[in-house]
Subunit: 374 residues, 2 copies
């Protein structure tokens, strides 16, 4: 067999991630590799830490980027905090709430499931009932921005409720970080994880995570060892503890971290509030155009994620045919439906660098063309 | 606080990894991101699979690159194959054999430890005694190329012995793949993992792994679920099952996989045997020069890894001072000692693209200079 170098086309990425990446971030990615214990690299990791603290709006000392995708970040939060036999209230309103449940049960812990409809925010009242009915629950876990449905939940209210009921909160911010308001310290979030390839507009493969001091205390006082060696955060923490103190754990993904540093730098320079406003503005533009095309949103307006627009596929349209047309004719990727929404929905991402006038304009024109073909 | 883009210097990487990377691989890394479910990307992943089959010398259908570093590859092998209560014979002759033990015990399985001296190959006789003494052992695990000590073990003999005693073999090939002879099918290896950042000369962050059909059967017939959701290979397999059949699991590290594809392409074009011979040739050159400098190897000649040269720090030399001098004066990284060898050894890597005349020449001259300064 003969092989040749892979030369991908230049796509516009408006699916559920990976999102569009700026040329500056791609350029940072391909800078010369240096050692993961090189003092210069350790210094850069320190900056990644403080830039992540800014992005998460936290002073948490334990704020790092995990050397694996967001789903490993989710697992890291659960396996480090939760022990066999613990009771965890898990809110499920999409694919990723369901994945949380799988994480809880694989630990041998008990998941108390609070179901809310797909395409809606987590129902606060139901969560409160579950908290009252389960006074022995130790954790409350939910997804801030459900990537599978485009629904935004009220993280602030949920975390307040968790505190009132002496529960530790575990929050999935994979799609929310950088795209909508998120304030870890103000909202009292205890454990949070995200992904590099959504609103941060970095390459996929890293998972920013942060633990409050209270969460760190729980990790330090576990009765049993963390079941995963790779994800054991007590080992990871000393790997991220800065110049002179770093102890070897694994080899960090050096180049991906260059890219994350650059992407976070851009977010810092733009300012978080400005980034949130930009996502909202572009979402409004997109929504106006989609409505003109007669396309309906799945999520009610006040629960919608600006950065991930889940829409019903028009009855007259062929799901795969339209997406392939967009891809082949316009090099434009939009996302298919996931789980319950498979074949019924499209997901249009406006994440990070993709939340720009050019992208919205292309998407609306291309979609109109594609729909007229089917 | 003000942040600026991180611009690393151009180092020559002759430590235990990450290793030097060619400009072609760096260039592949920074090609435009496309979706991880894009048909073109799925096609490239198929090529990565067959290129990895070539590198591992296997027809194993289950041959993929895990979206996390080699230590996650290690954990993936253990958590998927081993269940609580199982008996695993683990050979320990350095840091990574010890890490295997930690993986086994975190599963709730029993590790039967066979210790061989640091800086030596695994002692075959001792392993055979352990196999005889533990007829109920299900697995034999060992490190082919110990990165912490520079010792090469006889994987062929060990795997043959495992088969004779009806044990499944689990082999750490993090530093061996691409650098020394390794034949998964001929040697009857059941589960094997490696890292992208050693002799493959790709960026760090990926772990090539391969399971024999026998190992896959064990995974399929587990009595208990795999404790890790992220590393559950029954889920991963359908993610890597090619066009039309792919089911969503996580977002693959798209750009790192471009780089791995390119790095494997280079290995394929050079030819495995040629790559092995090149590592040996450069090692001989380096060894000759080191001997001239009066420097002694830790590992006896016939157990030495060509790609990782562990040497005693001369009595007259200051460990940190010499390494810092090399780094600051020559932009040359060599590795410190690890574990038992901390402060006693240096590790000079000649991995992948770093196994070149230029590197050996620079290293010898620079080291001579550095030693004369202390």
């Amino acid at each position: 067999m003969t092989y040749t170098s892979f030369t991908p086309p230049r796509r516009t990425l408006m699916g559920p991630g990976p999102s569009d990446i700026s040329s500056e971030v791609l350029s940072a990615l391909s800078r010369p590799v240096i050692g993961h214990l090189d003092p210069l690299f350790v210094g850069m990791m320190d900056e990644v830490k403080s830039l992540l603290q800014y992005a998460f709006q936290t002073k948490n000392e334990f704020t790092i980027a995990l050397s694996a995708p967001g789903s490993a970040g989710m697992e890291a939060c659960f396996v480090n905090l939760v022990e066999a036999g613990d009771k965890v209230i898990v809110c499920r309103n999409g694919v990723f709430g369901d994945r949380m449940i799988q994480n809880v049960t694989r630990i041998g812990a008990q998941a108390i499931i609070v179901d809310s409809p797909w395409g809606r925010a987590v129902e606060i009242d139901k969560v409160e009932q579950a908290l009252i009915a389960n006074p022995d629950a130790k954790f409350l876990a939910f997804v801030h921005a459900e990537t599978s449905t485009g629904a935004l939940s009220d993280a602030q209210a949920l975390c307040k409720m968790a505190q009132e009921h002496k529960c530790i909160s575990i929050v999935d911010a994979v799609t929310s970080l950088g795209g909508v308001e998120l304030k870890v310290d103000d909202w009292g979030i205890d454990a949070i994880y995200s992904g590099s390839q959504k609103c941060l507009s970095c390459v996929p493969g890293l998972s920013p995570i942060s633990f409050s001091d209270k969460a760190v205390e729980i990790i330090k006082n576990r009765k049993t060892p963390v079941q995963s060696w790779f994800l054991d955060q007590s080992l990871i923490m000393s790997y991220w503890s800065g110049a002179g103190k770093r102890s070897y754990h694994h080899t960090a993904p050096v180049n991906s971290l260059y890219a994350l540093h650059e992407a976070l730098l851009h977010l810092h320079n733009e300012g978080l509030e400005n980034a949130w406003a930009r996502h909202k503005l572009q979402h409004d533009q997109l929504a106006k155009g989609l409505t003109k095309l007669g396309i309906n949103f799945i999520v009610p307006e006040d629960e919608r994620l600006p950065q991930l627009n889940a829409i019903y596929i028009p009855d007259t349209a062929d799901d795969a045919k339209v997406r392939n047309y967009l891809l082949n004719h316009y090099n434009l990727e939009i996302g298919a439906g996931l789980g319950d929404f498979s074949g019924k929905a499209w997901r249009i991402g406006l994440m990070g660098y993709a939340a720009r006038n050019e992208n919205v304009a292309l998407c609306l024109t291309a979609l109109e063309d594609a729909l007229s073909q089917s």
